[in-house]
Every structure is written in structure tokens, then in C-alpha cells.
């Protein structure tokens, strides 16, 4: 119960001046390049500390491929940690190793990079909230920058489908608050993978796109729609073995003509799916 007394007693938040925020910001790097050149161009340089980025798209449109590539690229840089939240139990260490081998890294470097990618297998929203909470408690100002990749969020939410009306939404909202707390208090950037579902009502910002685009909307509901600062739409271009990515905020689009360029050697698994 919120009473005036309890609020005043537990008051731990206070304001910061924008000057202080600015001082903190200029002391540390604010942009973490994803290492995928065209995606960096789309994102104005890369993932930004303090912001939540979403990749959404239909199944097999290279969302996981891209996020895995980003995880590997980020982990091979110095002073950056990566946490890969695997909610679908389909992340394979062999795939990551093959990706690294295809770049002709020495076995030492490969082992080092593999160690830097921490994988969290999480199968419920409650556990995800717990992870954010623990990170928030443990992280200090001196820690390295951290990139958290969640692949994927809707697969956790589908567990709550058909349940009591508000429970799923409450849990999602709670995890959103934890994400925001983490990114704004620590040196953290978050990348969330989401899927696209078909619906008739949602129209993206530009309304004069082809019909097919109008029919798609990001999953996870209306509340989530306003959460990410940047949303990328990945699209599988049928028959041409290509994937395109589109940024809703600056309306930039980029294409990967050959899947290999994006996904290196691990495109094998995707090729199987599309047959």
C-alpha cells in the first residue's frame, strides 16, 4: 500500500542535474558498434548505451542470425561483456565456434571470445526479471560495458497466453521497467528479438508502403510497441536469398544480398529451413 509516510520513508530516488548526466556520459563510450557494417549505418553507429533496440521480423528472416553475429562481434572486442539470453534453447556453441573459425581466429582467441559470451537459458518472464534484478545489484561503475541480447522475448510471453487477463501484461510491464532501470543506471545496451504477427489495424509510420507491410505488426502488444527506442524490421526476400533490414525511426533500409555476408558459415541451418 502506498501511503505518504511509506513513500517519504523509502524515498531513494532523487534528481540528477543534466550536467551531471552529461559528465557521466562523456567519460565512457556511448556507442558499441555491432561489427556488421550496414547495421551500424542503420543504427547511427551501433548499439547505444542506455537504449533498447528491437529487431522484429517473420520467422527465418535472419533475426537470430543477426543477433548471434552481433554477440560474437561484440564479444571479440575488448572491454565489453555480452549476455545472450536464450529463451528457445537453440543456441549452439558449435555454431559460434564455427563463426569464429571462419574468421580465421587462432584457437586461443576463439576460446577467449567464447568465454566472454555468457549464455543465460531462461524459460520464464519471472526468471528474466530476476536476471535483470541481479545484474542491477551486482554491476558497479567500474564494470565493463554490457550488451544483453534477448532471443527472443515473445517466446516467454506465449506461456501466458489465454491466462487471466492482466497477468501476462503485468509481467511484461514489470520486465520493461527492470530493463529501463538497468540501461539507465549502468553501462548497458539491450537488443531484443521480436516476431511479426499479421494484423489489420496496425500501420507503421509510413503509410504508403506496399500492402504486405501494412498487415504486419510487432508482437507483444500495444504497450511494448512504445518501448524500444529503435525498431528494425527484418524481411526475407523470397527467391533472391536475401534479407533486408529497415529502421522505422530514420526510414533507412539496407539489404544483404547474400546470406553468407550476414551470417558467415552458420547460414547452413537457415538454408535448410527455407527449402
Amino acid at each position: 500500500m502506498l501511503t505518504k509516510k511509506s513513500v517519504l520513508k523509502n524515498r531513494e530516488v532523487s534528481y540528477v542535474s543534466a550536467y551531471k548526466l552529461y559528465q557521466q556520459t562523456i567519460q565512457r563510450p556511448q556507442i558499441i558498434p555491432t561489427g556488421v557494417k550496414r547495421i551500424d549505418e542503420l543504427l547511427d553507429g551501433g548499439l547505444q548505451i542506455g537504449r533498447i533496440v528491437e529487431i522484429c521480423g517473420q520467422p527465418t528472416s535472419a533475426k537470430s542470425q543477426l543477433s548471434l553475429s552481433i554477440a560474437v562481434n561484440v564479444a571479440s572486442r575488448k572491454n565489453i561483456e555480452t549476455i545472450y539470453v536464450d529463451t528457445k534453447h537453440d543456441l549452439s556453441g558449435v555454431v559460434i565456434r564455427n563463426m569464429l573459425r571462419s574468421r580465421r581466429y587462432t584457437e586461443n582467441v576463439i576460446a577467449e571470445t567464447l568465454q566472454k559470451i555468457r549464455v543465460a537459458r531462461i524459460y520464464s518472464v519471472e526468471k528474466l526479471i530476476e536476471l535483470f534484478e541481479n545484474l542491477d545489484k551486482r554491476m558497479t561503475d567500474k564494470d565493463n560495458s554490457l550488451v544483453i541480447i534477448i532471443d527472443s522475448l515473445p517466446s516467454l510471453m506465449y506461456l501466458h497466453h489465454g491466462e487471466a487477463k492482466f497477468e501476462g501484461l503485468n509481467l511484461l510491464a514489470e520486465s520493461v521497467l527492470r530493463m529501463r532501470k538497468l540501461v539507465s543506471r549502468h553501462q548497458v545496451a539491450i537488443l531484443v528479438v521480436n516476431i511479426i504477427t499479421c494484423g489489420r489495424k496496425w500501420t507503421p509510420v509510413e503509410k504508403k508502403k506496399p500492402e504486405e507491410m501494412r498487415l504486419q505488426k510487432p508482437s507483444l502488444g500495444k504497450h511494448w510497441q512504445t518501448v524500444p527506442c529503435v525498431r528494425l524490421l527484418s524481411k526475407w526476400i523470397i527467391d533472391s536469398h536475401a534479407v533486408s533490414f529497415y529502421n522505422f525511426a530514420n526510414q533507412m533500409i539496407t539489404g544483404f544480398e547474400e546470406r553468407k555476408k550476414l551470417s558467415y558459415t552458420s547460414s547452413l541451418r537457415m538454408a535448410d529451413k527455407s527449402k
Binding site: N10, S17, D44, L177
Partner: protein, 263 residues
């Protein structure tokens, strides 16, 4: 003619501390075509996601905190960042844009100093739970009493905690939630003579738009942002409803914030 108006001790303190607040009138003719906003008004910025609501809010804040000779109002601002869309780097760019446009003769070093100095006048509350927000709102009143330079309070965005507060056991309608928040803003803006500005995604409490802006339960300004982006060109429109008067402006968004297009 004299009328006796009774006021509480707290209101007296609020009134006395508010006598010398800077005004935001004539803030920017593109943002407020009616030469507003006068003290005590409430401004709502609404629109679909991606139409520049957070940018609009940043633009208003930037124009409030800059010194008068650099295109601002020399005021202090309280900002509740509830959705983490405030981006200090972009905000600095916006400040730089306004300062350079209003005072092109000032040398680069001096402008940078001015910008860094005025950042001290923006107080940011980061809240991550309804309890923290409640605490921050109370601290806001203390701040308003002690600092008579504060002329603007901004909130981004109004429904940030709705889905943790609306539960199965305690359901609350979006419209009711919105009204309660607005009543609270109204009280603070009346008591302390400050301008309140907040953002609202158009999917949150869409029914409230039926209430005209002349109603007390409604904001005094409703700025609706619309996107006209196509594959070839980008463009946005702002429809301002100021107590029944309506205005239209066109703008674009780039790395330096909002750029108004002259018709």
C-alpha cells in the same frame, strides 16, 4: 470590487515562491503559434510511435533552459524521465542548434560554456516504479518551493506505469488513470504557476481526445503529431489545438532535433 479568497498555508508558500518565476510566453512561434504558453497551462503531445513526441518535449525543454540571449527563457526545468527516451547527446545537439541560430556571433567556446552551464538547470528524475514516481512527485513540490526559477515540469510519458498498476485485483481504466494524473498536474500548475508538458502515445487512453481542450479535465494545448513519411521523402505535421484555436505546422526530424519548415 474585492473578494476574499481563502488559501492554505501550503498554497501561500507556493504563491509567494512563484511570484518571480520566469515566463515561457513567446517560447517559440513554431511550437506555440499563439505566443504561449502562459504560466499554469498544460501541454499534451500525442501521436503514433515514431512521430517525434520525445523530440518535441526535448525541444520545449531546450528552449526553456537556455539563456535569453541564446534563444531561451533562462528558466529551470524538472523532468520526469519515465520511459528512458531522453537522450543527452541528442539534447546537447538540440541546445547547440538553438543557441547557434539565435546568437550566431558567439564563438564556439563561449557557446559550449553557455550550454554546459544551462544543463545545471535541468533536474531529471529517473523513476522505475510507481512508488519511486510518487516519491519524486513529492520531492518536486519541495523543489518548486525552494527554486523560484523553475517554470516548466515535463513528463515522458504519462502512461509509463499503467500496466504495473492495473492488475486483476485492482483494475483501473486508462481514461480514469489519465484523468487522475491530469488533475494532479493541474493542481501543481495552478498552485506554482508552472507550465506542465507531457507526452502520451496515441494508443494510451484514446478516448480522452473527445474532451475539448476548453474543458478543465483536459490539457490546454493538445499537439498531435502526424507522420507523412513515404519512401521518397520524410515529413511530419503538428496539429496544435489551443483551447479551441487550431494551428498547423510542418517539420522534419534530424540529428539536431526538430526542424520546422516554412510554408
Amino acid at each position: 470590487m474585492s473578494t476574499i479568497v481563502a488559501e492554505s498555508g501550503a498554497q501561500l508558500v507556493a504563491r509567494i515562491s512563484s511570484e518571480n518565476r520566469p515566463t515561457l510566453e513567446n517560447l517559440c512561434s513554431d511550437l506555440f503559434p499563439d505566443n504561449g504558453p502562459p504560466p499554469g497551462r498544460i501541454v499534451e503531445i500525442t501521436g503514433e510511435s515514431g512521430t517525434g513526441k520525445s523530440h518535441f518535449l526535448m525541444e520545449i525543454m531546450a528552449r526553456a533552459i537556455l539563456p535569453t540571449e541564446y534563444g531561451g527563457r533562462d528558466a529551470h526545468v524538472i523532468f520526469f524521465d519515465l520511459d528512458c527516451k531522453f537522450w543527452i547527446i541528442r539534447f546537447l545537439h538540440i541546445l547547440e542548434k538553438i543557441a547557434c541560430a539565435s546568437n550566431p556571433d558567439s564563438d564556439e567556446k563561449k557557446t559550449k560554456e553557455v550550454i554546459e552551464k544551462c544543463l545545471n538547470g535541468l533536474f531529471i528524475f529517473n523513476c522505475f516504479s510507481p512508488g519511486e514516481y510518487e516519491g519524486a512527485l513529492q520531492e518536486m513540490e519541495e523543489l518548486l518551493t525552494s527554486d523560484s526559477s523553475i517554470a516548466l515540469v515535463t513528463v515522458g510519458t504519462i502512461g509509463a506505469f499503467y500496466w504495473v498498476e492495473c492488475t486483476e485485483e485492482k483494475p483501473i481504466k486508462m481514461t480514469t488513470y489519465y484523468k487522475k494524473a491530469l488533475q494532479r498536474f493541474r493542481k501543481v500548475s495552478n498552485d506554482y504557476k508552472v507550465v506542465f508538458a507531457f507526452t502520451r502515445p496515441d494508443i494510451f487512453a484514446p478516448d480522452v481526445e473527445k474532451v475539448p481542450t476548453t474543458d478543465a479535465d483536459s490539457p490546454d494545448y493538445r499537439i498531435r503529431l502526424i507522420s507523412h513519411c513515404t519512401e521518397e521523402a520524410r515529413g511530419f505535421e503538428a496539429e496544435t489545438d489551443a483551447r479551441g484555436q487550431s494551428y498547423r505546422t510542418l517539420f522534419n526530424i534530424d540529428n539536431f532535433g526538430i526542424k520546422f519548415l516554412k510554408l
